[in-house]
């Protein structure tokens, strides 16, 4: 079993213990994650790196409650995810997780405002309060003047900023970013990484990011390397204190 990795300061926000994830392809068993343990403290900014098939995205899916481990336990802020039903997990995701995807995953028929408003539609907030939250989130990512624009009217970097606004608008416990700069040019990628850094430093957001890009990984406080489903190495990122 790999030792717990992460910043390890105080009581962890996320506690992963002995997690296995196995898929079956016909008669073959594929062990994507093996005995993985990990602690993440509140406010951490962690990058996961590793070759394709090393289990980075699978780990992110498990941490985000999109998938369940074959064995082991995952607890976030005291909530044991492995004991939750699918319905409970969905509700839990709405409250605790902000997702940022490589391809932005915005709804093309909705404006930037409406896309960011989506997570708030699941809350009891009034229309006026939702408007306030959405405007604040879009202002935070520097798109206060693009609220009425549709995704097709935005650049890739702007789309990803809308996606980040959508991820933070309901003030989730942590952000999961799967290759957030993977589809962007260098300049846009830098802007997105600056934004994530700012969310971590100035707003205390806990961020877990999967990336292939070493430049992006260096923006994190801790860089964890995965290989064949096992955490093999931990390093301090440029953002480390």
């Amino acid at each position: 079993m790999a030792p717990p990795a992460g910043s390890g300061d105080g009581s962890p926000l996320i506690r992963v213990r002995d997690v296995d994830k196995t898929y079956r392809r016909g008669s073959e068993e594929i062990h994507v994650l093996q005995g993985l343990s990990l602690d993440v403290a509140a406010g951490d900014f962690i990058a996961f790196m590793g070759p394709s098939g090393s289990g980075k995205t699978t780990l992110l899916n498990l941490l985000g409650g999109l998938d369940v481990p074959s064995r082991g336990s995952i607890a976030v802020a005291g909530d044991e995810l492995t004991r939750m039903s699918a319905h409970k997990l969905t509700e839990w995701r709405a409250r605790h997780v902000g997702f940022v995807f490589q391809m932005y995953n915005l709804i093309p028929v909705l404006t930037a405002f409406q896309n960011v408003e989506l997570p708030l539609l699941l809350t009891r907030l009034s229309k006026a309060r939702r408007r306030q939250h959405v405007e604040a989130a879009l202002a935070l990512v520097g798109l206060g003047d693009r609220m009425r624009h549709y995704p097709r009217q935005l650049s890739g970097g702007q789309e990803q900023r809308v996606a980040i606004a959508r991820a933070v608008v309901a003030d989730p416990t942590f952000l999961l970013c799967d290759e957030p700069t993977g589809d962007l040019d260098r300049k846009s990628a830098e802007e997105i990484l600056d934004l994530l850094g700012r969310l971590s430093r100035e707003h205390g957001k806990t961020i877990l990011m999967v990336t292939h890009d070493p430049v992006a990984a260096r923006r994190a406080r801790v860089v964890l390397h995965l290989d064949k489903g096992v955490l093999v190495e931990a390093a301090q990122g440029a953002a480390a204190p």
């Binding site: 899916n61 985000g64 999109l66 998938d67 699918a86 319905h87 969905t90 509700e91 995701r93 709405a94 409250r95 997702f99 995807f101 391809m103 995953n105 709804i107 093309p108 028929v109 909705l110 409406q114 989506l118 997570p119 539609l121 699941l122 229309k127 959508r166």
Partner: protein, 379 residues
């Protein structure tokens, strides 16, 4: 309601496809409405038939007459409250295509037995006072542009010659489904001027004390005239109307068959459209699930889209049908009533909701069962 803009935005993403699907519903519901209107026209006599009225016919055939002398004898049968009689005239007004039913009636008893027909008092008085007087249904009067006071010549086909009538009144029905196409004139006028058939009437309509006594009274009437040269066959007005409709073929089955085929096709078309719409948005639906929208929400979202399409189509189709029926009977009098009732419209809406729900159900279930992790991998 907070999700309505989202549903509308989804429907408008493929405007042509949505418009065509709504159009399919509209055409189907228009057709459905027309079928119900035609059915209603055929069944109109059954629907509006008085529960307290019996029709007395010649046992041999509908076209064989009965003696006028039966009047008093029927009147004396216990349970009979009132009666009237009529004869079919079958004349032609200007052109054979201008069909409308003409009846020689007994004015004093007509409105007592048929209280659902309304004629302004002054007009009815003028009709009763004029032996050549006539009363026309409002639809027929409108169709030919007749006004009270007009002279109306009708060419007899059963009774030879050109018969002149003075239009003294126009009748309305109390209910929307009452017909307004008949043409009434004095039986006495027919009796005086016809060359044959004197002393005979087409049929009697008997008003009874209570509908519960219908079977007993009908039996009593038929027994009274048994073994006479003019034996009778008495039935309720409803049964009479139903047997009349039966002679035109099984309209119900025809309508059911056409309607069934149309709606089954519509179900396939809409189901296919919704399935494509869901398949195209697998990634978006996975994203929605990832950010916290439940399986049930996805199910309702797809069903909501399907229902909105079907309802929009139904409103358009039934609305167009209603407008079409307001223009009146397009068959020149073959359909006594050309009326789309609120009940028929409600049935159309209900059917649209049913088809919309069925069409959206499978795609909605597939959206609900979507595995987020698998679907996100496809984005």
């Amino acid at each position: 309601m907070r999700f309505l803009p989202f549903i509308l935005a989804n429907l408008l993403r493929k405007k042509v496809r949505t418009a065509l699907t709504i159009g399919s519903f509209a055409v189907a519901l228009f057709l459905f409405g027309i079928l119900l209107v035609v059915r209603g026209a055929f069944r109109q006599g059954i629907e509006v038939a008085g529960a307290d009225r019996l029709v007395v016919l010649n046992k041999t055939s509908l076209i064989q007459p009965l003696p006028i002398a039966y009047r008093e004898r029927i009147q004396r049968i216990p349970g009979v409250k009132d009666l009237t009689f009529s004869s079919w005239f079958g004349g032609v007004y200007q052109d054979e295509r201008n069909f409308f039913p003409q009846f020689a009636i007994d004015p004093p008893s007509q409105l007592r037995v048929y209280p659902e027909y309304v004629v302004p008092e002054g007009q009815w008085g003028a009709f009763v006072a004029d032996r050549q007087g006539a009363v026309a249904g409002a639809d027929t009067a409108r169709r030919f542009g007749w006004k009270v006071g007009d002279r109306i010549p009708i060419q007899g086909t059963i009774f030879a010659g050109t018969w002149q009538f003075n239009l003294r009144g126009i009748y309305q029905g109390k209910r929307p489904e009452d017909d307004r196409i008949q043409f009434w004139f004095h039986h006495d006028y027919l009796e005086e001027n016809r060359q044959w058939g004197k002393g005979l009437v087409g049929w009697y309509v008997v008003k009874i004390e209570s509908p519960d006594q219908a079977a007993r009274i009908a039996k009593a009437i038929d027994e009274r005239f048994a073994n006479s040269p003019y034996e009778t066959k008495t039935d309720t007005e409803k049964a009479f109307a139903a047997s009349f409709v039966k002679q035109t073929g099984n309209i119900e089955l025809l309508i059911l068959a056409i309607g069934g085929v149309v709606f089954f096709t519509l179900l396939l078309v809409t189901g296919n459209t919704m399935a494509i719409a869901v398949r195209e948005r697998v990634g978006e639906m996975a994203t929605l699930k990832a950010i916290g929208f439940t399986d049930r929400f996805l199910l309702l979202l797809v069903l909501g889209e399907s229902l909105l399409i079907s309802l929009a189509g139904a409103v358009l189709g039934l609305g167009a049908c209603k407008l079409f029926t307001l223009g009146g009977d397009p068959t020149r009098g073959l359909l006594a009533i050309f009326y789309l009732s609120p009940e028929a419209m409600a049935a159309g809406l209900g059917l649209a909701v049913f088809v919309g729900t069925c069409a959206g159900l499978l795609p909605a279930l597939s959206a609900m069962r979507l595995r987020v992790v698998d679907a996100l991998r496809r984005v």
